[in-house]
Each structure stands twice: as structure tokens, then as C-alpha cells.
Amino acid sequence: MAKMAAQDWMSGEEEDTQKGKYLTFALGKEVYGIEIRYVTEIIGIQPITEVPEMPDYIRGIINLRGQIVPVMDVRLRFKKEFREYDDRTCVIVIEFDDIAMGLIVDSVEEVLSIPDEDIVSLPEIKQSTNRYIKSVGKVGDEIKLLLDCSKLLTEDEMESLAEIQS
């Protein structure tokens, strides 16, 4: 039902109020931000059913009140070290392009308004590390890495190529 509510928002006149708002979460020391309009809900870690023959960062599927949602460990997606799940671990359920996905993150921080002028796009260097990061938001002295949802959910050609080679 929360999902419906979120969809209502998107289509409704409240769309404007979501603009420029980001949900931030932590992976280790870094803080990432994701546009709030993609976020359906945030839940604690759930029992996950493994699905065979999936990339390691797809941990499996969860039952979200009858809806089956795949979950992705964002640490593993970013080729970081795996960290055991604890009671701070959260699943951020996002919906992008009609694909629902649960993102497993270390912890969820807050919802922030970042005005457009405080957002700078990343220079095109070191493609391998910043390809999920669309831009960087400045909040006070802190830096939030803003995620590109579409990159997160679509397979990279380079990646598939690497898989074939290995």
C-alpha cells in the first residue's frame, strides 16, 4: 500500500515537493544519496531467499507483503567487501522504470534537500569507480555521492565482458 501511496505522489501535484530531495544512506564511511522519488519504502533486513545463477550482488528475493522483490547488496555491487547484516542494516525499496528492487545498505541516514546549485557533476575520470555516481552534492562540509538508479539496475557491458573472460 505504501507503494501505491508513493505512486500517487509521483503522479500528483506533490511531485514538486519531492524535487531536490535525497535519501541518504551509508556504506562504510561514505554517504550516498538517492533521489527520493524512486524510493518506495525502507524496511529492516528480511529473510532472503537465494536464487541460483545470479550475480553475487543479487542476494535473492524477499516477500514484501505478497510482492516478490529482488534485493541487491549495494556493497557487493560496488565491489566493496561484504559486511555481515545487523540490526542497522536496511533495505531501501526503490522503483525505477517499473522494476522494483531492494537495496541492502549499512544504514539509512536522513532525507536531505540539496538545491541544484550545490550539485556538481563528476569529471569523466576513472570510469570504473564513478559510473554509478551521477553527481556529488555538497551539504555543509560534507559530500554526498548521488546515485544513478538506472546504472545501478542495468548490467554494464564491460562487466558482462569481464564475466565471459573469467
Binding site: 531467499t49 545463477e53 545470479m54 528475493i61 516477500n63 505478497g66 516478490i68 522483490v69 522494483a100
Partner: protein
Amino acid sequence: MSAQDNEQMLEMYFFETEQNLEQLETLILSGEKGTGFTEDTLNELFRLMHTIKGSSGMMSYQSLASVAHHLEDLLHYLRERQPASVDYSILSDLVLEGIDLMKVELQKIKNGDQADGDVAPLVKNIKEYLQLLKEQNNAESEAAAALAQPDHTNDFGAEADAVIYKAVVHFAADCAMENMRAYSLVHNLQEAVNILRFFPEDLEADESSEIIQREGFTVYLQSELEPEQIKELFMQTPFLRELEFTVADFGSAEKAADNGAQNQKHNNHTAANNNSVISVSVSKLDKLMDLVGEMVIAESMVVQNPDLNGLELENFEKAARQLHKITSELQDLVMSIRMVPLATTFHKMQRLVRDMSKQLQKDIQLQLIGEQTEVDKNIIEHINDPIMHLIRNAIDHGLETAEEREAQGKPATGSITLEAKNAGSDVLILVKDDGRGLNKDKILERALEHGLLTKAPAEMTEKEIYELIFLPGFSTKDDITEFSGRGVGMDVVANNLKMVGGSVSVSSAPGQGTVFTLRIPLTLAIMDSMNVKVGDCCYTIPIINIKECLRLQHHTLVNDTEGYEMLMVRGECYPIIRLHQHFKIKNAVTDLDKGVLVMVEHDKKSFLLFVDELLGQQEVVVKALPTYIKERHKSKTISGCTLLGDGSISLILDVGGFVQ
């Protein structure tokens, strides 16, 4: 009226009218089929037509209303006069033609187009037929009867002390269907005032339109309301041109109550139509099913809550049992809502057979068996076209002409049987004809021409040859007819069935006929299955694939040179697939002695799946895998997933995926 109200009314109108049309069609077809048109049938036909006319007129769809109106006249005449000699086949043709026309118009309206179909030719035909009937029966024309109405102003009654008003309504010249408008006016007024009498009395007769045009529509009424208020009521009538409103200057009293009661009765009769069924969108049902599923899970979470461990709660247990009973009943009910009998689909075919039989001059009898068999709503939508194609083909290609049949010593009437029956978790639909059967040589020849052969003809079995007709671009009929022969039919049949997880097969005997067998799953949503455990994971195997389950005892284990394990069971050798290896599952039983072997079969190939243990048999609700997963799951060994009682997910194995 707000736009939303209007939309709702439109929706209701579509639903009602479509249902009425369908009912009309069924009635006509069954009437034609020997039972004849009894008085009851005629009454029912008339009533349905009347409703369509009324609601179409109300919505200002003139083409629909006028067709219905003229057909209604015709039926009215038949009903009232009950003429002795009637050619009912012409009647059926006319009514069916009218139904078709109305269906087309409805579709136009639905698509947002103007309902601009040309109804004149049909109306003319109907009128001519009615005229013919009248002449034949040499009866006084209705018009004469209606016009010769005696002085109509003094034989009605009223409560003696109340004032009687007289209103004469004139409609705008171009409003058309005056009698219908008058009827709806009366209907509207009845709620507020006591209508004593109106003229012309017989609003259902065609001629009354003319009278109203000429003289206006006269209503005598009594009411507690102020004259101004009553006037106001009249002024709301659409297309009103002029209203004469006076106090009637006589007070003779007779029985008006009768009149009123009769009117009331008639209205109730119309309104009571179809109230017992409502249509609900399937997506709402799906949502309901999801919610009920959640509730079942929530229930087990409450009842098996760890906080309750070690407590003796007699009353709680009682209440919990009651809750469980209700939730499981609810679950069963939700499942059953989706199941729809095949009857509607089957009955549609009667019409097809009738039309084709007339057009092709073939005498055909359609037999329906097992039309009460229930199938999931989603599936029914997909099998309508295939069945239609098969029946068309059977009539067009399969059945011979009457002369040919007689020459072969067969009855002149060709027979087509449409049969449905349950077979496990599948439903079989058989389309049988007793025609000439499939011609093997011709099929081979045609397949060769189109380069569809992959094997030498000599090596092909009879079945393989017959199956060729399901290939795209195959058609053996030399000339294309209106009904079939474009070479797409069989291909579409096979594809449509594949979409719902079904299949089609064919068998045939030369000179004796052809049988097409459609095998469709009962439902896409529920499946009988076995849950098994491997490591910490739970998997679900469809029961239909399972042949037996066995433990390794004194079977002989065979290892081939490539390390594949095989097992001898009753003299047959079966390969073993270890699920934990296949899916790379940790903590699983690896010792063949300790686990269980499940023998599964797919496409006549059997093999053994090695699992830790069996958890039990269960009816599960099949859910599709999320698209993200489906796109990335390449080996196709998992077809979907299901929720277990404790809320956890079990993956459903697709046994066919292991065969490759």
C-alpha cells in the same frame, strides 16, 4: 450530471447492453434449435429488446435504439397476436442481424467514435417482415386499434378529493422516438406524482410515436405537490418543446389504481434484470488474492509467535482455530472467484456454426459437452480464438458437402463436437468433426512446397506429419474463403495456447474425421506441488512432473566416465541431478544414502533429482519471478516462486529446464 456520473452510467450501459445482447443471442439460437419460440421465449426476447431500446434511447444512441425499437415491434406483434404460421428462421436472421449491428455500434461508442451505422436497410427489412406477417394473418392492424381508441378522458379514477391535473407534452420535432421519451417521462414522474392515465396508452406500439408527434402526449395526474413543482418536473424532460399544464375539469372516478399498479410492475420487471451478477476487474481480484495471502501469513505469525512459547492459552487457541478456519475458507473462495465455466465461450461457437452452416450450405450439428468445466478467467480469454479457428477449419476444410457425405454412407448432417473435461491439473478441450480427415499426402506436398520439411517424408510418423499443420504459413485449402484458409489459423492456435502454458495436438483418420486436443492448465495461479528442502533453501516441484520418490537402498549406482551418476531402477537407468551441486547450495546433504531421490518426468524423459528431504505436498499460489531476476536467469530451471505458510519464499522448479 457530473462527468463521472456520466462515465459510470456509460459503463453500466455497456455492461448491461452487452449482457442483454448475449442473452438474446442465446435465446434465439436455442429457440431455433428445435424447441421453437414458445410464449415464454418471446416474452423474454421482447423484454430484453425493450430494455436495450430503453437504455439506448436514454443514452441518445439513436442507431441502437431504432434497431431495438423495430425489432421490439416485431416481437411485440408476435407476442400479442401469436400468429399461426411464422417463418421463424427469418425472424432469427433479422434479430441476429440486429444484434450484430448493435454490437458493432456499441464497439464504436466504446472506441469513442460516433455510432453512425446505417440502420435503414435492416429497419426496412424488419418492417417488411412485420407487414408480411400482418397481411398473412389478416389481422386488424395495430394502428387501427390504437387510433380507434374511444374517448379516453373519462374512464379513469382517482381519489375523489384531490385535484387532477392534465398535462400535454409536445416534443421537439427532431427528437425522434417520441413514444420512448414519453415512456421515460412517465417513468420519471412516477416517483413524484400519482399518474392516473396517459394517452396514447400503448407506448410500446410504433404508431404512438406518430400520435404524440401530432397531438402531443397527454398525462393525467394527481399529486400533493404544488402545480409549479409539477410543472418544474415536466420541464426537465429532454427535447421538450411545449407544455400545456391545466387542472382537469372533471372528477369522475373509476379504477386508476390498477393502471398504476400495472405500470409499476412493468418497471420493476425491467429493473430486476441482471442484478445478481457484477463484473469486477481481474486486477482487483489479483490484489484481493495477494491480500488474503498476506493475511494467511499474518495469521501464522500471530499464532506461532515465539512470545507464546510455553504458555497454556486455552481461549487463545480456540480463537486462533476459528481464525484459521475463516482465513482458509476465504482463501478457497478467492481462488474460486477466478474460475469461470467455459459455457460462454462454448455458446459463442453456436453462432459461428449457425452462420457458417447457412453460408456454406452444409448441414451441421454442434454438440457441446462439459461446458460447465471451470477454467481460470485469464486463460479463457486466450482460448476463445483458438477454438474459433479450429471450428472454422473443421467446417470449412473438414466437413464434406451433404452429397459427398451421403455418397460415403455417412449421415447428411455433419457433426462437430466441442468437449471439455478435467484431466488432473489440466483441462482438455476436444474439437471433433466427422469429416474427411486430414490428407497426409496433401500435407506433405504442401510442406515440401513451402520448404517446411526438416526430415525425409518416409521417415516421418503419422503424428509428425499431422503436426506440420501447426507450422507458420501452412494452409492446404486451395482457395481462400471468407472463413478460413489464409494459412495463419493453426499457427495462431498453437501460439495462443503456448502463451498460457498449454499445447495442441491432432489425430485423424481418413474418412472418419479429425480430433484436435487442446490441453490447457486449469489455472495459472494455483498448482499442486511438492516442497523439498536442500540445505537451508526450500524448492517446489510441480506434482505433475513427479513420478515417484525413493530412497537409495539396494539400487545399483552407475558412474560414467565423465563423472555423471546414474541409478538403475527396475531395470531402467536414470541420470541423477544433485540439486545442491546444480544450484551451488551450501550445508546440503551430499551423501546419496541420506537424502531423497525424486523421479521427475518431462517430455517423456525421466531423471532423478537429489534433495535433502521432502517437506510435504501443498497447493501453492504461483507468483511470477520479478522481471529483473527473470531477465538474468538464463538456464530456465526456475519458473516462478510461491509463498509458504510462514511467509518465506520457495522457488518453483521447471523440470523441463534441467533436460537440456
